[in-house]
């Protein structure tokens, strides 16, 4: 029943398009109809003031929020899977269980996202972010920065072409940010796409920027 995970298919370039997308939260229209395009190997940084709707846009892409207007279109990729099934969504919260070790958390995510829960895969994903030593420590005994990096390591245990990242580098120190920038560059080089909402610069060599401007109007 489980479909194979759509890996990054380098021969078919993907393009993710938002066409006149509009979102509502609590009766309020968040931003004017937005159109954007991201292609394989590209990163898009979403900027805007607090409350502009950056997180909501990412959540809508991940399929958690319905759109008030417009649509998302994915060219390329796996035609049998929805957009959400081909994306990693990393929110504000780390989505880690404190009672479990880093490896157990990653093994769970690998299993649930359709990859093989494997000690070596967890170890290499953690090592890529400088955290190989916390593999068997319970997450609640780790610092905020370490927890965030374990959450980021989830991106490495299951391969999905689209990354939707909401403030990925919160709580990370400078060296950790550099490590994660390396992880992102690798993903882009392999043909992946990244959409990231962030207040801080991500350290990517070439990232386009989309600016969200909040509207003051209410939905009719």
């Amino acid at each position: 029943m489980a479909r194979p995970v759509g890996g990054v298919n380098e021969s078919v370039p993907m393009r993710l398009k938002a066409e006149n997308v509009s979102l509502e939260r609590g009766g309020r229209v968040l931003f004017a109809p937005l159109s954007l395009t991201v292609s394989s190997g590209e990163a898009l940084t979403i900027l805007g003031p607090n409350g502009a709707g950056k997180s909501s846009l990412l959540r809508a892409l991940a399929g958690f929020l319905p759109l008030a207007a417009g649509r998302f279109v994915l060219d390329g990729g796996d035609p049998e899977q929805s957009l959400a099934e081909q994306a990693h969504y990393l929110g504000h919260a780390d989505a880690l269980k404190g009672a479990l070790t880093a490896h157990e958390n990653l093994a769970f995510w690998a299993g649930v996202l359709g990859a093989a829960p494997d000690r070596r895969a967890s170890a290499s994903a953690l090592a890529r972010l400088g955290l190989a030593h916390v593999m068997d420590f319970p997450v609640r005994a780790q610092s905020a920065g370490q927890k965030r990096r374990v959450a980021l390591a989830r991106l490495g245990v299951a391969r999905r072409p689209i990354w939707l990242l909401d403030e990925p580098t919160t709580a990370l120190d400078v060296s950790a940010q550099a490590l994660f920038a390396g992880v992102m560059e690798e993903h882009l080089a392999g043909g992946g796409l990244i959409l990231a909402a962030t207040h801080a610069p991500l350290g990517l060599a070439a990232a386009r920027v989309a600016q969200l401007a909040p509207t003051a109007s209410l939905a009719a």
């Binding site: 489980a2 958690f64 929020l65 959400a84 099934e85 269980k97 649930v112």
Partner: protein
Amino acid sequence: MRPALALFLREWRIASRIGGGASVGAMFFLILVTIMPFALGPDLKLLGRLGPAILWIAALLATLLGLDRLFQGDADDGSLDSLVNAALPLEAVVLIKCTAHWASNALPLVAISPLFGLMLAMEGPALGLVVLTLLAGTPALTMIGAVGAALTVSLRRGGLLMAVIALPLTIPVLIFGVSAASAASGGGAPFQTPFLMLCALSLLAVAGAPFAAAAAIRHVRE
């Protein structure tokens, strides 16, 4: 299969490590059952007659007590998002979480219920049949409670509201459970009829509750 196993393993590990589930439920069960004889007085016959009812009420309340954490933990730390979009349909996620919850919370209750039955002046063979009724009925309680938990997942302290929502739906289970357990203790009524009804209720709950709970989660999250 793999996502289902990964989820079950995680739920089981959390339940066995945090330990708030099985032991809290069992303690609650113990408290109720030990207080009852004090409140009802030393009339052994009365106690023997009420024993099955007391066990069932205690099992019902202890099960509902632990269920509000079913989805709350995931909602709090953001895991619920990714479970909704996992390689498993949300209904299967609900079913697996409930199975893990039942195995870690309700099964220990069922296992120690013979001991409590003895405290309530119940006889030997009756105890075995009462355990059987609890075994057949606690899945229904867990699944119905899960629907309540799904409806109150976004509330901070939704535990009581969840119990209020779930309680009316658990009354049939309670009625048939006590009826079967009383029949087992020599109440004169047949055992098989209420017991089979109990099994039917459990099967119905297992079949229907995941859909209700999944719909509730999707709706509440928007």
